[in-house]
């Protein structure tokens, strides 16, 4: 018997969850952003379903604030897998008037839920597979693998179905839907180890590169067409990499010289700040900000 390590155990669990969704849900979708966790999700879907096609389309909710390298990876991966990619953008919701934003340059994560819910309604999805992990944040630590949303897409932490063994209750009422998180039990380190083992291609901005940044408080913020220095701020060029790749206006890189997955793993194993703590300014607004966003339908 070949040795069955923790990555094998996590992988098998994730495949099992994806197949349950495929078998038990009427019209599922896989939320795919081009970030590292969703790239791992695609490899797991290949492992779960090949030689068949995926029994679901890939869906991306585009905030219009994404890094171009990530969008490029998204399109190339979907094309090379030969799978259907549905892109719906916040701009559409803004045009429709379902999203009203005060300043187009501010972070757009809070509005993502609106376009996601509109997309779910447009296609009638009853289940959305997402690449969230429980180690990311304490609200996620308490969320089930199969997480139920009411017709407003809301998560009710007090009213979750008990989840026992690997027997998942996949039943939903008309109008409700499920968010399913097959990599719930993976940590940031597991993700990197898996990317290394599977030799997965990830957007170049995950590796150390020279980037123009400005410092605000403790954070290092990338300069882009959306983020320009305010008066008194100066642009520096630093060697940085991204640990997460979200909205360009609120995703901060970390200083790093890691140019290989092996070096990233080393840095991750040594990291002294959580992934979201280091890189997501929108989660730091209040101690409970993720919890609030989840309740509003954020996946």
């Amino acid at each position: 018997m070949k040795s069955f390590g923790h990555l094998d155990a996590l992988e098998s669990e994730s495949i099992h969850i994806m197949r349950e969704v495929a078998a038990a849900c009427r019209n599922p979708a896989l939320l795919f952003s081009g970030g590292k966790d969703s790239i791992v999700m695609l490899r797991l879907a290949e492992k779960a379903f090949r030689p068949c096609k995926f029994p679901f389309p890939l869906v991306h909710i585009d905030t219009g604030h994404n890094f171009p390298e990530v969008i490029e990876t998204r399109d190339r991966l979907a094309a090379s897998l030969g799978e259907r990619l549905i892109v719906r953008s916040l701009e559409d919701s803004i045009r429709r008037g379902s999203i009203v934003i005060r300043n187009p340059d501010l972070p757009r994560n809070p509005y993502q839920s609106v376009t996601l819910l509109e997309t779910i309604a447009e296609f009638g999805f009853d289940a959305c597979l997402g690449g969230a992990r429980r180690d990311e944040e304490k609200a996620r630590a308490k969320e089930r693998i199969f997480s139920f949303r009411d017709e407003f897409g809301q998560w009710d932490p007090k009213n979750q179905r008990p989840e026992l063994w690997d027997i998942y209750n996949t039943r939903v009422h008309q109008g409700e839907n499920i968010r399913v998180f097959p990599i719930s039990n993976w940590t940031e380190l597991d993700i990197w180890q898996y990317i290394e083992r599977e030799k997965l291609h990830i957007p170049s901005i995950y590796y150390a590169h020279q980037r123009k940044v400005i410092r605000r408080g403790n954070a290092v913020i990338p300069v882009s067409n959306l983020v320009k220095p305010k008066s008194g701020e100066t642009i520096e060029v630093l060697s940085v990499r991204f640990r997460t790749v979200g909205d360009m206006t609120c995703t901060a890189p970390v200083e790093s010289d890691a140019i290989s997955i092996g070096q990233i793993i080393e840095e991750t194993a040594m990291a002294r700040i959580t992934e979201r703590g280091a890189t997501r300014m929108d989660d730091q607004t209040s101690e409970a900000s993720m919890e609030l966003r989840k309740k509003e339908g954020y996946f």
Binding site: A22, F49, P51, H173, I273, G277, E287
Partner: protein, 416 residues
Amino acid sequence: MSNTTQLLRFITAGSVDDGKSTLIGRLLFDAKSIFEDQYSAISLTSRKRGMESVDLSLLTDGLQAEREQGITIDVAYRYFATPRRKFIIGDTPGHEQYTRNMVTAASTANLIIILVDARRGVLVQTRRHTYLASLVGIPHIVLAVNKMDLVEYSESRYREICAEYLAFASQLGLHDVKCIPLSALSGDMLVDRGENLLWYQGPTLMEWLENVEIGHDLNTRDFRYPVQWICRPQTGTHHDFRGYMGRIASGEVSVGDPITVLPSGRTSHVLEISTYDGKLDVAHAPQSVAIRLTDEIDISRGDMLVKADNLPGVSTEFCAMLCWLSETPLDRNRKYLVKHTTRTVKCLFKSIDYRIDVNTLERHAGPAVNMNDIVHAVIRVQQPLAYDSYRKNRACGSFIVIDETTNDTVAAGMMD
């Protein structure tokens, strides 16, 4: 950490007073799994609450909803890793919902740490936790005799508690019990041995978590393969491919093995075992694979492939221990659904034989079944299930009960 690091899932049982949160906080802290931003957040809270040192128990503090409403949400999962193993902690708060929460968290655990306060010894709740651990069949138990600092690190006190506990555990048929004296507050015998328990020669808690043998926690004898999904690409090179996809629940299977399909009883042989990474000669639990058979027979999701010479029970009626999870009591006039492996069938509760008092382990008669009750029931299902006794095979002896109207998961079942 290499790719062949094993995964161990454990839970802790004990009330807040036993130092459970401090123990988890300390394990995470000493295993260097506390990040600076988390640490500075709890330091700030500790100072706000007027504490002199950082209260590690705050690491397991809950959500805003819990803090505001004084409720606690059942299970939170936490992760840490050492060079030897990756760990998943199922953290359950101890309060009146305890039975339901503990059964939920225990269902996936390899090991349970049962905490006792060295001053108070084995209590009613210690017995309750131990009974539930035995009911759910957690393979390994650690009795953590905590707060040794408050009994002057007395060896005789420790031995007294262990002797009493081991006698109780053996009555329940639990034999893999490890007793460890410790102090979660000072850290003695958690990760470091400390200077105060020199008379204790056994492993620290962390050493035990890293080394306890878990290779046999899954049933390796009885091959059970619930079919999850059928892959028929019907294209090009895969024109004739019909793969039965699933996760091996227990045992192992080889190419050429004679196979029986349940509940139909049809037979065939294993033609091929494949994964995305290539074909296998042998596969074992808990691998997710695709199996092709030599004959074209009618197989659908919910069927189970087993070896022809090792069959499980197949029946439309079975007995089981049931833990009722729902606030709405069981209504015996109604039909429910049973989900067992990948098969979902309608069911009826034919009889409720007795209820177990989890504090005294006494059996009581009476048909009412309320939340947190543990009962023995006879259940009829509309179509036959292929199952093992839970004692012999956790993966094929467990099921959940679903209320068809609300879609809620209302009970967890373990077959006799």
